[in-house]
């Protein structure tokens, strides 16, 4: 936190940067920016600035550089990794005003959008052109494209379609010195640059520059969708179904699994959908041309039945499909209602290690007296263990962090990685030495050394070494 005299100077400087935008400095205003989706770790910024356009954003960056205060960029703040929080104080730049959809080219299969556009806003606009943008994190109604690119976001349907990095054709970024650069564009190449710098930008979690706009690849909207829901008595049968679906020529777009603890949580709530409480619930979906997907329905159902499910339900009707998805969709909200705090881990593992890692989650959580439920992208091996706890109770947060550490150690040992779609933020930065040794850490840290060598942009994120020293 800046001394009060400095804060007045900071506020005055920021107000000079934004004539149409806003500067927030009162405690009540700043409180809304203390946390991201994690909720339980609070970092109070010295100021929040909401630039109205790119020119104002450029002035903010240039001023922050002169003032020597940390800068953190923030979209909707739905990150689950402690990304868009002022971990070292300073200024949060809220990019919500940059929300224009500048162009949609259905013939060229691209669109140009500003960083504050929300995923659902984009989907509504693309729908009119019969195209869609596939990444679909569950925060879609509010999360911004800027945040999605910053964290290389994924979602349930990424099993078939891939994550954000598969769809970013180009981006415009403002570096700390105020210089504006365009990497790529509608064609998705390098442009005049010799190297493909946009690769470093995607997933960089606000540590290299401020994104202003993107060129995104889109696909023809599928003609028809079939959703399947099946329950399994144990993990062996559920895994058999997952492996069968992954290897099947029907190429499901999503393969989601809820463990019995998560199923029980839903069934013991007002949102119950009638699932057997001791079961694993699997959701899968196929989509494409009607003639093709209709021909695949029975083979997908057979995979689920042959694996051991006795209640395979499926539909191509929108309302019924929504009901099949209901348990999966309400699980996150229920955790928020049932528990003062919860943390979602985001490890990706080889699928053969699923049973071992789930058992580790259960053993560690049970021993610590922490409630754990699992709902995750099984097709990708992307685990999301959710730990429900109360950070106000002494020792609970430490227990959860210890479980997280042991889980991540084992994840890396079995060949997995720390994050599949949430990013590292400051939540998992301490685990990075598990993945990167001295040589590769040096390689990683060379990238901020190019664009943000003093770590003034989003300090203490991704790598703990990234501390800003004015």
């Amino acid at each position: 936190m800046q001394p009060s005299g400095n804060r007045v100077h900071l506020e005055t400087t920021l107000r000079n940067c934004v004539s149409r935008g806003r500067v927030l400095t009162s405690p009540a205003q700043l409180a809304g920016y203390d946390t991201d989706g994690l909720g339980y770790k609070e970092y109070r910024p010295d100021a929040v600035v909401i630039p109205a356009d790119t020119d104002e954003l450029i002035r903010v960056l240039q001023s922050a550089r002169q003032l020597g205060v940390p800068l953190c960029f923030r979209g909707a703040g739905t990150s689950l990794s402690g990304g868009p929080v002022a971990a070292q104080g300073g200024i949060i730049v809220h990019t919500s005003a940059l929300r224009a959809i500048r162009k949609i080219s259905p013939e060229g299969f691209w669109c140009e959008v500003e960083c504050g556009v929300t995923l659902n806003q984009l989907d509504e606009a693309l729908k009119q052109h019969s195209v869609f943008y596939p990444p679909d994190p569950s925060s879609g109604p509010v999360c911004t494209i800027g945040g999605n690119v910053a964290t290389n976001a994924g979602g349930a349907h990424c099993f078939r379609y891939g994550v954000t990095s598969n769809y970013v054709l180009g981006l415009e970024v403002i570096l700390l010195d105020g210089s504006v650069h365009r990497f790529g564009g509608p064609a998705g190449g390098r442009g005049r640059w010799r190297e493909d710098w946009k690769r470093f930008m995607i997933g960089s979690e606000g540590t290299l520059g401020a994104f202003t706009r993107f060129w995104l690849r889109v696909l023809p909207r599928p003609e028809k969708v079939w959703t399947f829901r099946a329950t399994f008595p144990d993990l062996i049968t559920a895994e058999k179904a997952i492996h069968g679906l992954v290897a099947d020529a029907s190429y499901p777009v999503a393969i989601e699994l809820m463990d019995p603890r998560c199923v029980a949580m839903v069934e013991n709530s007002p949102m119950a959908v009638g699932l057997p409480v001791d079961s694993f619930m699997l959701l899968t979906e196929i989509e494409g041309p009607a003639a093709l997907v209709d021909a695949r329905v029975e083979s997908v159902a057979e995979i689920l039945r042959n694996a051991g499910s006795r209640d395979v339900v499926y539909s191509d009707e929108a309302i019924l499909r929504g009901k099949l998805w209901k348990a999966r969709k309400v699980a996150g909200g229920l955790m928020g209602q049932l528990s003062a705090d919860f943390v979602v881990q985001d490890a990706v593992i080889p699928k053969r290690a699923l049973a071992e890692l789930l058992q580790l989650v259960y053993d560690e959580a049970d021993a610590a007296g922490i409630r754990a439920v699992n709902v995750f992208h099984a097709g990708d091996g992307n685990l999301h263990p959710n730990f429900l706890f109360d950070s106000r109770k002494p020792g609970e947060l430490e227990k959860v962090e210890l479980i997280g550490k042991r889980l991540m150690q084992r994840v890396v040992e079995v060949g997995g990685t720390l994050s599949g779609e949430h990013g590292i933020g400051n939540d998992k930065a301490a685990y990075m030495p598990l993945v990167f040794g001295p040589d590769t850490t040096r390689l990683q840290l060379a990238i901020p050394a190019v664009f943000n060598p003093r770590h003034q942009l989003n300090p203490l994120k991704v790598f703990t070494e990234r501390r800003f020293t004015p």
């Binding site: 080219s105 060229g108 299969f109 891939g162 598969n166 210089s179 564009g185 509608p186 064609a187 998705g188 190449g189 442009g191 005049r192 010799r194 190297e195 710098w197 690769r199 470093f200 997933g203 960089s204 060129w215 023809p220 144990d234 993990l235 062996i236 559920a238 992954v246 099947d248 020529a249 494409g288 041309p289 003639a291 093709l292 990706v348 080889p350 053969r352 699923l354 049973a355 071992e356 058992q359 990708d380 091996g381 060949g415 990685t417 779609e421 949430h422 990013g423 990075m432 993945v435 990167f436 590769t440 040096r442 390689l443 990683q444 060379a446 990238i447 901020p448 050394a449 991704v462 790598f463």
Partner: protein, 350 residues
């Protein structure tokens, strides 16, 4: 109590975490030498009903293919090489070998050094091994050829791409040589589905005044490693492909959805319709760096430079680019030159 299956197979070095060669049929990932050729990879995958669909030249090494183009025909369905290679062992300029990337299909752990280096063509070191993502192999293919007047073929492409069938063809390629062109669609599908594909393509061809022929169980198309690649937007592919073929008298393959045109300095008597590319020994230069191979090499390089000069600005204006194994990229200017210097120094890539 959890009762799922798990077996431990060492896939990485316990100290360096570098990849060892392995295949995981459950995840559909395979680690092979960068010098493995497409046929070797196909053999390894075949036993598990899997395949690596991105092939430019069946006798070229994976490294040669990756360094000749970021896209192959099957990129239409599966994306670029960087979406189908998950990790690699990378030999740094000073000889150290480090692991870059993962063996799982998703990651957002740290900066994406992997995609930056993958197509850097030897400027910062080179790959010694790749971890590739395999896909289910239906053991049945159909290749459709749609021919007609050049204008009809070109006008049919946006119609084809707009439909939701588009994403189920492995490749949708416009083959053009001289004044001739045709559309080539290839699909790997279960035998019981090929009738549906044939009905669709037949109906589409009729509506677009095109003649259709189909070949069953034909290997995936391999046109050879291109002599140059242009990256543009999908809607520019038909005109650019036919323009290059007609004006330059070369063979050009437009990867319609990927927005890519692969250029081949055709040999006389090598028809578009035979689907095979130049011999590997003629086509594939060493994957790392460019080596002069006499007058022939210089002649090809000069010709490509001429073609590039005519099109580069239009490609750049759309955020596109060009690449050739024969012509080095333009020298970077400020600020890129400074960025590269810092990167090399800080990362130990000198």
């Amino acid at each position: 109590m959890i009762t799922g299956v798990c077996s431990g197979v060492p896939e990485t070095d316990p100290v360096s975490r570098c990849f060892r060669h392995f295949i995981d049929p459950i995840d559909g990932v395979l680690c092979v030498s960068a010098d493995a050729v497409a046929d070797e990879i196909a053999t390894l995958a075949h036993d598990h009903n899997l395949r690596f669909p991105l092939i430019l030249d069946s006798s070229a090494t994976l490294s040669q293919q990756v360094n000749s183009s970021e896209y192959a025909p099957a990129s239409s369905r599966f994306g670029a090489f960087c979406d189908n290679i998950l990790g690699m062992n990378w030999k740094m300029p000073d000889g150290r070998i480090v692991r870059i990337g993962e063996r799982v299909v998703k990651t957002t752990t740290g900066y994406d050094v992997f995609r930056f280096l993958l197509h850097s063509c030897g400027r910062f070191g080179y790959a010694t091994d790749y971890v590739v993502r395999l896909r289910p192999d239906c053991r049945h293919t159909v290749q459709y050829s749609l021919s007609g007047k050049t204008s009809d073929v070109c006008q049919s492409i946006p119609v084809l791409l707009k439909g939701s069938w588009m994403h189920w063809f492995d490749s949708i390629d416009l083959l053009s040589e001289g004044q001739n062109c045709r559309l080539r669609l290839h699909v790997n599908c279960p035998p019981n589905e090929s009738r549906l594909f044939t009905e669709y393509v037949s109906s589409f061809a009729g509506s677009q005044h095109l003649q259709m022929s189909a070949e069953y169980d034909r290997a995936a198309p391999v046109d050879g490693c291109p002599d140059f690649t242009f990256k543009t937007t999908p809607d520019r592919v038909p005109s650019l492909t036919t323009q290059l073929a007609q004006e330059q008298g070369i063979r050009a393959t437009g990867l319609c959805y990927s927005g890519v045109v692969l250029g081949y300095l055709s040999k006389p008597g090598q028809p578009v319709s035979d689907g095979s590319g130049p011999e590997a020994s003629d086509c594939v230069q060493p994957s790392v760096g460019i080596q002069t191979e006499g007058q022939d090499f210089e002649r090809i390089a000069e010709r490509i430079q001429t073609i590039v000069r005519q099109h580069a600005n239009e490609l750049y204006s759309l955020g596109g680019d060009w690449h050739s194994r024969y012509v080095p990229p333009p020298s970077p200017v400020s600020p890129e030159s400074e960025w590269i210097s810092i990167l090399q120094k800080e990362a130990g890539l000198l």
